[in-house]
C-alpha cells in the first residue's frame, strides 16, 4: 500500500467531510461501502460460501444504517438518552442473519452432496 494514501485521503477529506463533526452521513457512507462490497461479492463470487459472506456484508451494512438512523445524537437532535433503537433492530438483524446463514449453509451442504462442488455456476438446473 502506498504510504502516502492516508495523507492524500486525509487531505482530500480535510477540506470537506472530514472536517465536519461525525454525523449520519459518515455512518451512511460506511454502510454504503459495506453494502456495495457485499453486493459485489455476491455478484462476483463463484463459491457459494463466498456469496454467503457477501450476504453477511450486506446485512451488516444495513445494520450500520440502522445504527446511524437510530441514534438521535448522531442525527443532531441531541437528547438526554443515547437511544438504542437502532442497536435493537441491528440485534434482530444479526439474529436473522445467523438464522438465514444456517439455512443457507444447509442448502449449500445439500447442494454439495448432490453436485460435489460448491461452484454456483453449476447450479443452473432451474433454468427455463
Amino acid at each position: 500500500m502506498n504510504p502516502t494514501a492516508p495523507l492524500c485521503a486525509a487531505g482530500f477529506f480535510a477540506s470537506g467531510v472530514l472536517s465536519d463533526p461525525v454525523s449520519v452521513t459518515h455512518y451512511l457512507v460506511v454502510g454504503a461501502i459495506l453494502f456495495t462490497s457485499g453486493v459485489v461479492c455476491m455478484a462476483v463470487k463463484r463459491n457459494a460460501l463466498g456469496i454467503l459472506m457477501g450476504i453477511e456484508l450486506v446485512l451488516n451494512g444495513a445494520n450500520v444504517n440502522f445504527i446511524a438512523f437510530g441514534s438521535p445524537y448522531l442525527r443532531g437532535e441531541g437528547s438526554a438518552s443515547i437511544g438504542l433503537d437502532g442497536e435493537a433492530i441491528a440485534l434482530f438483524v444479526i439474529l436473522l442473519a445467523a438464522a438465514e446463514a444456517a439455512v443457507a449453509l444447509a442448502i449449500t451442504l445439500n447442494f454439495y452432496n448432490n453436485h460435489s462442488t460448491v461452484d454456483i455456476d453449476q447450479a443452473d438446473d432451474l433454468q427455463g
Binding site: I120, D121, D124, G128
Partner: protein, 802 residues
C-alpha cells in the same frame, strides 16, 4: 212382398256379394288354402250366391210382371199391325223401380247418388252376367292351376338371358275377377249416369288388372295400358255428353225421383227418360225444355231483361215461348251432342270403330278373362248403356250408331278372315258381333240388339272357354299348328261346334234354331225393314248380310282348322288331351244355353219376350223425323216380325250362313280351293286384312309418335334446361363455398394460429431469462432495486426529502 223393396234388396245384395269376396281375398288371399287355392272357392261361392239372388229376383219379377209371348207368325200380320198402331198410343211405361241408397253429394240441381233402376232388362242382365261369371269362375279354377306354384314365364327374358321365375298369383286372379263382377253389376243396377260412369271406370281398371295379369310381359303390360287409354278416349266423349245433360237438364238420373229438396219440400224431380219423352207427347221424343232454354240462352236473357222488374212475368213468358223455340230447332244440337257423347263412351268400351284397337291386344290376358270380360260382359256394357239410354237418342244419333256398327262389323269380320291366332279370330268376331248389336240398336231394333247381346254372351263366352281348353292342351294359340283335335278332345270339339253354329245363326228356317238364329234373324229383319223405309241407307242391310256370310266363313274356318282334318304339328297332336272335368262342365252348361237361349218356355217366358217388357216408352211405333241427316224413318220393331220382311231376312240369313260354311269347308276340309292360292291371288287385300287395316300403324303415327315426340322434347327440356339450371346453381354455390372455405382457412384460422404462435414465441423468448445462473439473478435484483430507487427519487422527491 212388395217388389219395390224386395227387388232392390235382392239385386243390391247380389251386387255387393262379389265385393265382399274381393275384400276377403284382398286381405287373406294367399292364406286361403295351399298357395291360395281356396280363394277360387270363395270367389265362386260369392258369384253363385249372386246368381241365386238374381234368380230369386227374376222369380219375384215374373210373379209380379208375367211375361207374354211375342207374336211372330205372319198370319197375324194385319192384326199385329193394327195392334202396334193401337199400342203406340197406349203403350204403357215399362215397369221399373228406381230409388237411391246413398246420396254422395247434393248441391243445387245435381244429385250424385248410388241408386238403382230395375226393369226387366236389369233383372235379365243380372241373371245372365252372374250365370256366365259362375261358369267362368269354375272354369278358371282349373285353367289357372299353373299359378298355384312358382311360375316360370318363358316369354319374359331377364338381362342375363334366363327366364323369369316368380311365385304364383292364383288368389290375385280371383280377387280381380271378384272386383270385376262387382263393378259390372254396378253398371247394370245403376240408376243414374254418374254411378254408371263410376263403375264404367272401375270395370276399366279391373280390365287393366286382368289384361296385365302377366305384367312382366312387355306385350301384356302394353296391352293393358292400351286398353285403358283407348277407353279413356271414349270416356272423354262420355263426359261431354254427361255435361250436356247435366248443364241443360240438371239431372243424371234415368227415372223420376221424389224426395225432399234443399228447403225440405217434397218435390218430384223428373229423370232423363221422362224429360226427353214426356207424358204430354205420348212419350214421343222431343227436345226437353231445359235444353231448349239452354240453347236459346240469349233469347231467355232478352226476356229476363225486358221483365227485369217482375221476374214472374219473365218466367211465364219464357214458358210460353219454349214451344216456339223448340219448333225453331233450338236445343236439337244439344240433344244430339248428349246422345253422341254417351255413345262415344260406348264406342270405347264396346270396341267400335275407331276405338276397337284395344280388344285384340286384350287377348294377352288369361283366357277366362277374355271369356268373361272381353266377350260377354264388359264389352257388352256399352251396348247395355245404349239400350238403357235409348229413349234419349234422337234418330240422327241412331243413324250414327247404325253406321258405326255397320263399319265395325264389316271391318272386324274382314280381319278375322285371315287371322291365325285362335283368340284373335274370336276377338275380332266379338268386335264384329258388337257391331251387329249397335247396328240393330241404330236401325230401331231395341229388342233385337239386346237379344243378340244376351245370346252372344252365351255363345261367345262358350267359344272363348273352348279356345282356352284348346290352348291349354296344345300350349299354343296358332291355328296353323293345330288340326284333327276332334278325336282327342271330343267334348271341346262338340261344344265349340255348338258355339260356332250358334254364332252363325244356324237352324232350320222358320222352324227352330239355336240362340243365334233368333237374335241374328231379328237384327237382319229390322235392318231390312229400315233399308226399305229409308232406301238411301240400304247399305246397312247389305253390310249386315255380308257380315253374316263372313262370320260363317271365319268361324267355320276356325273350327275346321282346329278340329278337323289331319294334325299339322305332330308334337302338339301327340300331347293334346281333353281338359279336366272342372273345365269341361262349364262348356257343356254354356253350350246348352247357347242352344236354348232363343227358345220360349211353355207359358211364354223367353229372353225376347222379357225384353219386350222393358221396351222404353214411345219406341214401339214407327217414327219419322228429320233434323240433321234428312228425313229418317225408324220403323217399329213389330213390323219386322211379320210378313215378307221376316221371310226375306230369314232366307238371307240362312243363305249367307250356308254359303259361308260351304266356302270354309271347300277351303279347309275338302281342299277344293287352296287358302294359300286364294291369299296369293288377292295378295294386296290379303295383306291389308292381315295387317289389320294398318290401324295400329295409323294410330301410332297420328297419336303415339307425336306424344312420344312431345314427351322426349319435354324430357330434353327437363334434362337440358331445368337440370342444367339447377346444376348451375349448385355449381355456383359450391364455388362460393370454396371461397368461404378459403377465407375461413387462411384468414380466420390464420389469425387465430398467428395469435397462438405469437404467444408461444413470446413465452419461448421470455424463457430465456431463466438462465439458472444465480449470480445473474443477483445482478438483476441489484440493478432492479437501484433502478426503482432512482425512479422513485426522480418522481417522488417530496416524500424522500421528508
Amino acid at each position: 212382398m212388395d217388389p219395390a223393396s224386395t227387388l232392390p234388396l235382392l239385386l243390391g245384395l247380389a251386387w255387393l256379394t262379389p265385393l265382399v269376396s274381393f275384400v276377403a281375398i284382398l286381405f287373406f288371399g294367399p292364406r286361403m288354402g295351399p298357395h291360395g287355392k281356396s280363394s277360387a272357392g270363395v270367389a265362386t261361392a260369392a258369384i253363385v250366391v249372386s246368381l241365386a239372388l238374381s234368380l230369386a229376383a227374376l222369380g219375384t219379377w215374373l210373379s209380379v210382371h208375367p211375361v207374354q209371348a211375342v207374336a211372330h207368325d205372319s198370319h197375324a200380320a194385319s192384326d199385329s199391325h193394327a195392334d202396334s198402331h193401337a199400342d203406340s198410343h197406349a203403350q204403357p211405361l215399362p215397369p221399373a223401380y228406381s230409388g237411391d241408397w246413398y246420396t254422395l253429394y247434393e248441391g243445387g240441381a245435381l244429385k250424385l247418388s248410388i241408386g238403382w233402376y230395375i226393369d226387366a232388362l236389369t233383372v235379365l242382365m243380372f241373371v245372365v252376367v252372374t250365370f256366365i261369371a259362375s261358369c267362368i269362375h269354375i272354369y278358371a279354377a282349373g285353367y289357372m292351376h299353373d299359378e298355384l306354384h312358382d311360375f316360370t314365364d318363358h316369354t319374359v327374358h331377364l338381362t342375363d338371358g334366363s327366364h323369369f321365375h316368380r311365385p304364383g298369383r292364383f288368389s290375385r286372379f280371383f280377387q280381380s275377377l271378384s272386383l270385376f263382377c262387382f263393378s259390372m253389376l254396378g253398371i247394370v243396377i245403376a240408376g243414374n249416369l254418374a254411378m254408371i260412369f263410376i263403375f264404367w271406370e272401375l270395370v276399366g281398371i279391373c280390365s287393366w288388372f286382368l289384361i296385365g295379369f302377366y305384367y312382366e310381359r312387355q306385350s301384356a303390360s302394353n296391352a293393358a295400358n292400351k286398353a285403358f287409354i283407348v277407353n279413356r278416349v271414349g270416356d272423354f266423349g262420355m263426359i261431354i255428353g254427361m255435361m250436356a245433360l247435366w248443364g241443360a237438364l240438371g239431372t243424371l238420373h234415368f227415372a223420376d225421383s221424389s224426395g225432399p229438396n234443399a228447403a225440405g219440400i217434397e218435390t218430384l224431380r223428373p229423370g232423363l227418360l221422362s224429360l226427353v219423352r214426356p207424358e204430354a207427347t205420348h212419350h214421343a221424343l222431343q227436345v226437353p225444355d231445359g235444353m231448349v232454354k239452354f240453347a236459346a240462352a240469349d233469347r231467355v236473357a232478352e226476356i229476363t231483361l225486358d221483365h227485369a222488374a217482375r221476374p214472374e212475368d219473365s218466367a211465364s213468358e219464357i214458358a210460353n215461348r219454349v214451344d216456339d223455340w223448340r219448333a225453331m230447332g233450338y236445343g236439337r244440337w244439344l240433344l244430339f251432342v248428349a246422345g253422341i257423347g254417351i255413345f262415344c263412351g260406348c264406342v270405347g268400351k264396346s270396341a267400335q270403330f275407331p276405338l276397337f284397337v284395344w280388344l285384340p291386344d286384350a287377348m294377352e290376358g288369361p283366357t277366362p278373362v277374355s271369356a268373361l270380360v272381353h266377350s260377354a260382359t264388359m264389352v257388352a256394357a256399352g251396348v247395355f248403356l245404349m239400350g238403357r239410354f235409348y229413349p234419349v237418342l234422337t234418330p240422327d244419333v241412331l243413324l250414327v250408331i247404325a253406321y258405326t256398327g255397320a263399319i265395325t262389323l264389316f271391318l272386324a269380320a274382314t280381319i278375322a278372315l285371315v287371322a291365325t291366332d285362335i283368340k284373335q279370330v274370336l276377338a275380332y268376331s266379338t268386335i264384329s258381333q258388337l257391331g251387329y248389336m249397335m247396328l240393330a240398336l241404330g236401325v230401331g231394333g231395341w229388342v233385337a240388339g239386346l237379344f243378340h247381346l244376351f245370346t252372344h254372351a252365351f255363345f261367345k263366352s262358350l267359344l272363348f272357354l273352348c279356345s282356352g281348353s284348346v290352348i291349354h292342351a296344345c300350349h299354343t294359340n296358332d291355328m296353323r299348328k293345330m288340326g284333327g283335335l276332334a278325336k282327342v278332345m271330343p267334348w271341346t270339339a262338340g261344344t265349340m261346334l255348338v258355339g260356332c253354329l250358334a254364332i252363325i245363326g244356324a237352324g232350320v228356317p222358320f222352324v227352330i234354331g239355336l240362340s243365334g238364329y233368333y237374335s241374328k234373324d231379328s237384327i237382319l229383319a229390322q235392318a231390312l225393314s229400315f233399308s226399305q223405309a229409308n232406301p238411301s241407307h240400304s247399305i246397312l242391310f247389305a253390310a249386315a248380310a255380308g257380315g253374316a256370310f263372313l262370320t260363317a266363313f271365319y268361324m267355320f274356318r276356325l273350327w275346321f282348322m282346329t278340329f278337323a282334318g289331319q294334325p299339322r304339328d305332330a308334337h302338339i297332336s301327340e300331347h293334346a288331351h281333353e281338359s279336366p272335368r272342372v273345365m269341361v262342365a262349364p262348356l257343356v252348361a254354356l253350350a246348352i244355353l247357347a242352344i236354348v237361349a232363343g227358345w220360349s218356355l211353355p207359358g211364354g217366358f223367353g229372353i225376347a219376350a222379357m225384353l219386350e217388357q222393358a221396351r222404353p216408352a214411345g219406341t214401339a211405333a214407327t217414327v219419322t223425323s228429320g233434323y240433321l241427316f234428312g228425313s229418317l224413318t225408324i220403323p217399329a220393331e213389330h213390323e219386322s216380325h211379320v210378313g215378307a220382311i221376316h221371310e226375306t231376312a230369314t232366307l238371307a240369313a240362312f243363305a249367307t250362313a250356308a254359303a259361308g260354311v260351304l266356302l270354309a269347308a271347300m277351303m279347309y276340309v275338302w281342299r277344293i280351293l287352296s287358302p294359300l292360292a286364294v291369299a296369293w291371288v288377292f295378295r294386296p287385300i290379303y295383306t291389308f286384312f292381315k295387317q289389320r287395316w294398318y290401324f295400329d300403324e295409323l294410330y301410332g303415327a297420328i297419336f303415339v309418335q307425336p306424344v312420344l315426340g312431345i314427351a322426349s322434347l319435354a324430357s330434353s327440356i327437363d334434362l337440358g334446361v331445368i337440370d342444367k339450371l339447377i346444376d348451375g346453381i349448385a355449381w355456383t354455390a359450391r364455388q362460393l363455398a370454396g371461397i368461404d372455405a378459403w377465407i375461413d382457412r387462411t384468414l380466420v384460422d390464420g389469425l387465430v394460429n398467428a395469435t397462438a404462435s405469437a404467444t408461444w414465441i413470446a413465452g419461448v423468448e421470455l424463457k430465456k431469462l431463466q438462465t439458472g445462473h444465480l449470480r445473474q439473478y443477483v445482478m438483476f435484483i441489484v440493478i432492479g432495486t437501484v433502478a426503482m430507487f432512482v425512479l422513485a427519487s426522480l418522481f417522488l422527491r417530496s416524500s424522500l426529502a421528508a
